[in-house]
């Protein structure tokens, strides 16, 4: 008689898997559906077209601040899961697609924690002839429109703080982000009780101070825009026209939680090419892996990106704010570890 395989044969199910097969966002699931609908409704109502682009691509960004997940095709060819839909969306823009948005799943390196899941949902949209200031206004309008979609949701404070990156550092820490040395940053960090292990350059220190000293001081429930980031942290933002040494990049915080990152988009192929070189150099210096660059994106940049501004917003984090959840795993049914 043939023996029937029991559940413990073939596929072995561990005790932990037995305990964790269930979803963990039962409460948040309905609200996520409502939020997605509200986000789509807002942008569609303004004539922004929803688009879809590949999740899996042949190239990845060189930006040392984001790590891509690598995939491998059956024939051995390398692929990358997107860290954001930015590159293919900009190819659409360069081709004349006009105002576009996408609600995309994106993937980032070893990012796991109460505010990070390696796979998450990102709302990214681009507006022709907008600059960063005008897009900040629209981000704000979007947040205020979606919070009204459900009476159960937390609302942010009515007043919004807008502060330049340089003013934030100068006022709170007495540091000039363009000229301060790594040592001066270390002294400021020490004074603020931030004990650090590991060598950091100036930008590394500025990141540490922003994330662990300055943002935690933002008032709970308060929306804060930080704008004009140092050009060394420009990524794909164009150099600022009014603040030399800074770039037209902004971030939105709800309380101390970073929600969105936007640029008046860089469209100068010469500066783009120089920044690619710097990213490559930083990756080499940090001994980070060097992914295949996205050739299609580089060609699109060379052919000419229209004047536009774009922003990416973390949908899971927005949902955390709306529901008052401190752990991202409470708003994702199957977070990494259960995925």
């Amino acid at each position: 008689m043939a023996r029937r395989p029991g559940p413990s044969q073939g596929l072995r199910v561990s005790e932990t898997a037995v305990a964790t097969w269930r979803p963990c966002a039962t409460q948040a699931r309905v609200y996520r559906a409502r939020l997605n609908a509200a986000l789509r409704g807002f942008l569609a109502g303004r004539g922004v077209l929803e688009v879809e682009t590949p999740i899996l691509a042949r190239g990845a960004p060189l930006d040392p601040g984001v790590e891509s997940w690598r995939a491998r095709a059956p024939d051995g060819a390398a692929g990358y899961l997107q860290t954001s839909p930015e590159y293919p969306m900009k190819r659409l823009l360069a081709d004349g697609a006009g105002d576009i948005f996408q609600l995309a799943r994106v993937f980032r390196g070893e990012e796991t924690g109460v505010r990070h899941n390696p796979e998450f949902s990102m709302l990214e949209w681009y507006r022709l002839d907008f600059d960063d200031r005008r897009l900040m206004d629209e981000v704000l309008e979007l947040v205020h429109a979606v919070v009204a979609a459900d009476p159960d949701w937390n609302r942010p404070a009515a007043s919004v703080r807008r502060v330049a990156y340089a003013d934030l550092f100068q006022e709170a820490l007495g540091l000039n982000p363009l000229t301060c040395s790594a040592e001066e940053c270390a002294v400021a960090a020490q004074r603020e009780g931030l004990g650090m292990t590991g060598q950091l350059d100036r930008d590394g220190w500025l990141d540490a101070l922003m994330a662990m000293v300055l943002a935690p001081r933002f008032a709970p429930g308060q929306l804060t825009f930080v704008f004009d980031y140092p050009e060394s942290q420009a990524v794909l933002a164009r150099p600022s026209a009014h603040a030399p040494g800074y770039a037209s990049r902004f971030e939105l915080y709800w309380g101390d939680l970073e929600l969105a990152n936007g640029f008046h988009e860089l469209n100068d192929p010469v500066i783009f090419s120089a920044r690619q070189g710097q990213d490559l150099e930083r990756r080499r210096r940090n001994r980070q892996t060097i992914p295949e660059a996205d050739r299609f994106f580089a060609s699109a940049m060379a052919s000419g990106l229209p004047d536009c501004a774009g922003v990416a917003l973390g949908v899971d984090r927005l949902l955390m704010c709306l529901l008052g959840e401190a752990d991202i795993a409470r708003v994702i049914d199957f977070p990494w570890g259960r995925a």
Binding site: E110, T112, G113, G195, T197, A208, M210, A211, E258, N261
Partner: protein
């Protein structure tokens, strides 16, 4: 020497920091959307009990602390040292007051405790969660002040003082939760 990278950090991990063995109590991943990643940890110094916050640049590594928890039987004290034995091997360890800390007040001969060894040397001792100890001194009967929640202080055979209900008498054996130092029941 074994070491751990920040990506391996999790609570309970024993690491060597500032020359002392420390255990990670909490580990938080911190990273701006575009920028440097960090591990922010709360560590408890296993020698002093002090809790500190430390931040590591992602990718840094720290030395592992050779720390091991071993069940041992408490034998006796000679006044200066407290003596413990591993029941399986009869191996004996002596600990001074400093390493023992507040645990001394719960130690009854023959009880099995958890002794934490660092590089083979006793670092601390954790008494059983519940101990049964005899009351050697307390006021009799109901002579307590009922306004204070109906309890009275009782001195136990190991020297510990706990609050017991008014009906508990001298000479009785009581069960105590050593983590909170609270009376649980009569035995």
């Amino acid at each position: 020497m074994a070491s751990y990278s920040t990506s391996e950090f999790k609570s309970g991990l024993k690491i060597l920091l500032d020359g002392d063995p420390q255990t990670i109590v909490e580990n938080e991943f911190v990273k701006p959307g575009k920028g440097q990643a960090f591990s922010r940890v709360r560590v408890r110094n296993l020698r002093t009990g002090r809790v500190l916050e430390k931040t590591f640049k992602s990718g840094e590594s720290v030395e592992a602390a050779d720390v091991m928890d071993t069940d041992m039987q408490y034998l006796y004290t000679d006044g200066e040292f407290w003596h413990f034995m591993v029941p399986d091997t009869f191996e004996q360890y002596a600990m001074g007051q400093a390493a023992l800390g507040d645990s001394a007040q719960w130690l009854k001969e023959q009880d099995v405790c958890t002794v934490t060894l660092w590089n083979g040397e006793p670092l601390s001792v954790t008494p059983p969660n519940f101990v049964e100890l005899k009351i050697v001194q307390c006021d009799p009967g109901l002579r307590g002040d009922t306004a204070q929640g109906g309890t009275k202080p009782a001195t136990l055979e190991t020297g510990a003082v706990v609050k017991v209900p008014l009906f508990v008498e001298e000479g009785e054996v009581v069960k105590v939760d050593t983590r909170s130092g609270e009376y649980v029941s009569r035995v």
